[in-house]
Amino acid sequence: MGKPSRRQFLKLIGATGAALVVGRGSASATEEHQVNNDTLGMLYDATKCVGCKACMSACKRVNSDFGSLSYEQAPFDSDGLWDAPEDLSGSTRTLIKLFKESEKEWSYVKYSCMHCQKPSCVSVCPVSAMTRDKMTGIVDYNKNTCIGCRYCQVACAFNIPKFQWEKAIPQIVKCDLCKNTNMVKKGITACAETCPTGAIMFGKRKDLLEEAKKRLAENPGRYVNHIYGEKELGGTNHLYLSAMPFKKLGLPVLKHEAPAEFSEKIQHTIYKGFIAPVALYSTLCFIAVKNKKKERADDVEEQDKSGSERKKAETEHGEDVE
């Protein structure tokens, strides 16, 4: 008893496994993502940055009202006049840091959202609160749909999205290229507009790449020969040039494939057209209903038997336990 159903069950598992393997192979060929170089971004040249932090203060000034952003307050500064965040935070979208290796070797670095071509945060957000605009390439956040699950924080390889831990009504905070503020009024991000040394260049990705390549070609000794963000994680719209190795500036060494490509491939394979779950459900229903019918037939038989026979049947039943 039960033997045929077990075989069926194993068959089913085998078939599902095979489907997974086959599906994985075919999916990889079809879902290649394209880099759109007409989208907007910024080029940060660390060799031009003097660390004045004018970009940070401009960012806070321009974006303070939007998204309930507040100035960070040091405990000794109750008036909120002095603001020096240690890291990106629930009230800081962009940050300048200094990396100092020795008296002669040092570099500033600017952190803010990388605006990936294939952003992980957008891929993982369960309610589409993180979105990437196809035209502009801006990765934007909508607090009115966000449920605050913080999966975007887990997903982001650059640790960019920040959460307001101290608030009863918190939200995620990250750079949105001044989409609703400076961009609307002046067509440029506040940080790029303010930068006194031209370390931050705002424009289309293709122009930024061209400019970066030109700088690399004209001053080969000045830079590390690499445009950070050109290929990283499938390409980002925030690009970097630097004289120091990027890893030392807190920009991790990353693969060229976007993590979302891989995870979506697996998720799509399992749930393609919702076929696998439906197939699983119907097969299981078939088996369960058949088992139930058999059980009912056994019950009728058992009722005919006398008590002693029934006991015997029960012990046999017991031995059949797998």
Binding site: G2, S120, P126, P259, H268
Partner: protein, 429 residues
Amino acid sequence: MSHDEYQTYRAKILTPSFVVLLVLTLIGFTLIAVRFIKGIGAVSNMNDGYPWGIWITYDVATGTAIACGGYAMAILIYIRNRMHYHPMIRSAILTSMFGYGLAGFSVMVDVGRPWNAYNFFIPSKWQANSAMFEVAVCVMAYTTVLLLEFLPTVLTALEKTQWRTLQLLLDMLYSRMGMERPERIGDRLDKVKDLAAWLKPRLDKVLIFIIVLGITLPTMHQSSLGSLLLIASTKLHPLWYTGFLPLLFLINCMYIGYSIAILESVISCYAFKRPFETRELSGIARIIPWLTVIWLSVVIGDLAWRGQLGAAVSFDFYSRFFLLEFCLVAGGSLLMFSGKKRESIRWLFVSAALIVLGGALYRFNVYLIGFNPGKGWHYFPALAELLITVGIVAFEILGYQVIVKILPVLPKLHTRQQLDAGDVTADKA
């Protein structure tokens, strides 16, 4: 599948353990209130590097695996057609119901903007690429299915009830207020009874399709709990980061499910002074090592394929946790392979406990211990954070304790051997 395979465990509800659990529950829920008033940062040590702490790792990722008893038993009974385990299903479903219900509740405590959760029901907001979306929808659906699966128990109880407690309570209330008790209350109560009697056979007819749904849904979301971390390719340690995460999580929840069914049965039989269900339990214990062997082979094979076997035995921080998890699962399975040890309640308990610990540690390793967002980030749960989790678990046990005493959940002591043993315990009591 008759409803008289079960019985209500008749005992006092107000026991010392009830009081202890109640206190823990109250502490936990007070802290939850603090969290909603002052923000998540006020009670927890979670930070922007470790945005998921103990609540997600234990209450959701591990708690639902521990609540997979109902899932594992349903596969055994309805798909592999082992109907003689049927008496064990109700208590398994009850614990699953609490496990999943409270996992859902924990999520609502954990997320920052729970009032926006209605977006899961708005098609334009659906995001099928997100494993989180799949998990959320599936867990909500499965919790509903569990409630439906448990409904027959409630209906049976309603059908047979004399409303004794309620009658007494009403009498007392009315006499306090110095009023006559109106007739129509009795009529209404009878109506509820009639409704239960009407609904039960109808529910029984479609129940099998609900049960099968209750097998399909966990298969989906338990694997997706593994898929959740697929995106964190740069943060999760290579010992655990693999494309096989969904498969590993699925098998993991199955062997945890069977092991927890054993533990539950042993603990509740011990606590309620009932005879142990040794024969059924050793039958279940026979299945577990096969599942763990498949799981362990996938783990090893995958590590070898990715060239990470060296890292696994390097005895650094991560390697130690990996080896601990591996040895717990492997050790428990080795014990279960022995036919003799499977006949002993003590060894069954020990081996099942080892496997549950190992399996749970695997989930901790993936969600927390093997997760490294970069330099400078640290996380260890705050006391208040832990107490919230403790409170939720206490509430779970409390609910189980109370419900088995008011509803027919536990298997009836019907076989001869059990009857004999039952007499002995009855004499002692």
